[in-house]
């Protein structure tokens, strides 16, 4: 038979339920695939075969007893290396946390374990989730499985690459300014950033606390819906987590696109988008039209200010969050005379260039005399960005457009110019500023390069159900991409 790894998560869950395959077999296949492909791909920072096989055995035993099991039971998954995992090193892609063995599991990890998922390891990422190409990882780059000379996108590059390369059936990442949607688009899979407050952030290494949110990656929309279903919900350990009931995401998944009003922001098509990306995205609009959806012209007039506002707010919050890495409680310590020098030496050796740059920028914009001119102004612009979406959602159900101006770019292409890298986030950061859910679903391949192109769908707060349904309608027509052949 074709490798079980070609199955979607939903299909493998079915194969497990019917007894056609055991979790042990599936997990061994995944581990073998990781061993064979990870040197080329760089998706995993750490693989935990012993723990994974123990979890697989426990799952098979539960099944043998006839217990009622979740669809995740016995299914191998991966986690971005910023989910704290009890007893398993968690680095957040940084030397400053090298060797940190968390003494507890975060909420998402607890929920996945309770659902019986098999955690096979920790995935590569930009250091502290700061980056759009995964090249800021302190532990080496991750590559795009569709073209190994290109980046998988960032910051959750390992999450997307591992799922696309059939190393795991799904993964979890975080999205502060596009870090789920961009790699999902570049690697040709589905990635969803949930609404701020939908998934608990307890036990996740913080980058920018008003923008960070968790979300799943999968090869199909249904897989992403199932993964989201298992981690969404209130958590008393995260005061920003919402008490709203969680929708049944599978119930409305196959309702199709008929009657949907899809908002097309004119500002997203005013130049600057690669023509091949634009054509692929516009073709998807035509698919929706043919399915009975209505395309609605909408305006998001403050879109052009979003990157500037984001790169003031996110570094400001980061400079505060990263103050905790001081060489006292965990991670690296570089002793140097007194306490103050120890702090400075520890942080200078432990942080890579991008966190240092953002800490510096954030410290500056929060400093006396500059706070109002930069930080307060950015937060006011954030209000304007959010109001744009409030207006748009009066006349449409989802907003659709490109995820990024270009398909996956080459490693090294943008590393020398931070501002150019930041501008890669032009279409993704508005969602974070407005605290909305967002998703990337494959909509085709770039006409010249053949690289995957994702369609971005943004929804009303807590309306992940409509996003998934809309994405599923397109997926039924254009299908998931064929597997990458480079790895």
């Amino acid at each position: 038979m074709a490798s079980v790894l070609e199955c979607s998560l939903f299909e493998v869950a079915d194969a497990l339920a019917s007894g056609r395959v055991s979790s042990r077999e599936v997990t061994q296949a995944a581990l073998k695939r990781i061993v064979e492909s990870n040197a080329k791909l760089g998706a995993f920072l750490k693989v935990t075969p012993d723990g994974a096989l123990d979890q697989a055995r426990a799952s098979d035993q539960r099944r043998a007893r006839g217990a009622r099991l979740s669809p995740l039971d016995g299914v191998p998954l991966g986690l971005k290396d910023l989910f704290v995992t009890k007893g398993i090193e968690t680095t957040s892609g940084s030397r400053i946390l090298e060797g940190f063995i968390p003494p507890y599991d975060g909420t998402v990890v607890e929920k996945l374990k309770a659902a019986g998922a098999v955690i096979v390891g920790k995935l590569n990422m930009d250091e502290f989730a700061m980056g759009s190409s995964n090249e800021n990882s302190a532990f080496g780059p991750c590559r795009n499985p569709y073209d190994l000379s290109r980046t998988p996108g960032g910051s959750s590059g390992g999450c997307a690459a591992a799922v696309a390369a059939r190393q795991v059936f799904g993964s979890f990442g975080t999205d502060t300014g596009g870090s789920i949607r961009l790699p999902a688009s570049f690697c040709g899979i589905v990635g969803l950033r949930a609404t701020y407050g939908r998934i608990s952030r307890f036990g996740i290494v913080a980058f920018a606390s008003s923008l960070d949110q968790v979300g799943p990656f999968g090869r199909t929309v249904r897989d992403v819906a199932v993964l989201l279903q298992h981690v969404a919900g209130h958590d008393p350990r995260d005061m920003t987590s919402s008490k709203r009931p969680v929708d049944d995401y599978l119930a409305s998944l196959d309702e199709g696109a008929k009657g949907l009003r899809i908002g097309v922001p004119r500002e997203y098509f005013m130049g600057g988008v690669d023509p091949g990306v634009e054509k692929t995205v516009r073709d998807a609009f035509e698919v929706y039209r043919s399915l009975g959806a209505t395309l609605v012209d909408v305006s998001l007039p403050h879109s052009k200010y979003a990157v500037a506002a984001y790169y003031l707010i996110a570094p400001a919050e980061a400079s505060s969050n990263l103050a905790r890495y001081d060489g006292v409680r965990y991670g690296l310590r570089v002793e140097s005379g007194g306490l103050k020098d120890t702090y400075a030496k520890t942080r200078s050796q432990g942080f890579g260039p991008e966190p240092k740059r953002r800490i510096m920028l954030g410290t500056f914009v929060l400093s006396a005399g500059y706070y109002d001119a930069y930080y307060t102004r950015a937060q006011k612009v954030r209000t304007l960005v959010r109001r744009d979406f409030d207006e748009a959602f009066r006349v449409c159900d989802v907003v659709a457009g490109p995820v990024s101006p270009t398909p996956a770019f080459r490693l090294g292409e943008k590393t020398s110019d931070p501002l150019q890298m930041y501008l890669e986030d032009v279409f993704t950061v508005p969602c974070n500023l407005a605290a909305l859910p967002g998703l990337s679903v494959p909509c085709g391949r770039h006409p010249q390069s053949g690289l995957p192109v994702g369609l971005q769908l943004l929804g009303r707060p807590f309306d992940e159900g409509t996003l998934l349904r809309t994405a599923r309608a397109l997926e039924r027509e254009v299908g998931p991409l064929p597997r990458p052949t480079c790895v």
């Binding site: 005061m239 409680r329 991670g331 120890t342 240092k356 410290t363 102004r377 605290a435």
Partner: protein, 97 residues
């Protein structure tokens, strides 16, 4: 605005970073470029716009709980990742002579 090397050193001191001379020059240039870009926001009149101070949605509020003690990490577990610890306490360099 352009940041001088002196300003970069002041920011680094506030952020508890000790930068090499090469880093100071690099960040002076890069941060100046980013700050020049964000001047884009000056085009907008935001005098009557309210500040977005949290990311929770309409009708959502931070969920507080009763102030009751819950189990937490034992000191010996909380300190096991510390670069230096002793008897469940974090050891730090001397700060008082």
């Amino acid at each position: 605005m352009a940041l001088s090397l002196e300003e970069v050193r002041k920011i680094a001191a506030l952020a508890r970073l000790s930068l090499s001379p090469e880093e100071e020059t690099l960040y002076a240039g890069q941060l100046s470029e980013i700050l020049e870009y964000v001047r884009l926001l000056e085009e907008l009149d935001v005098s009557s716009v309210v500040t977005m101070t949290h990311a929770l949605g309409d009708g959502e509020s931070a969920s507080l709980r009763e102030d009751v003690p819950l189990p937490s990490l034992a000191p010996e577990i909380a300190t096991e990742n510390a670069p230096a610890s002793e008897a469940g306490l974090f050891r730090v360099p001397r700060i008082i002579e």
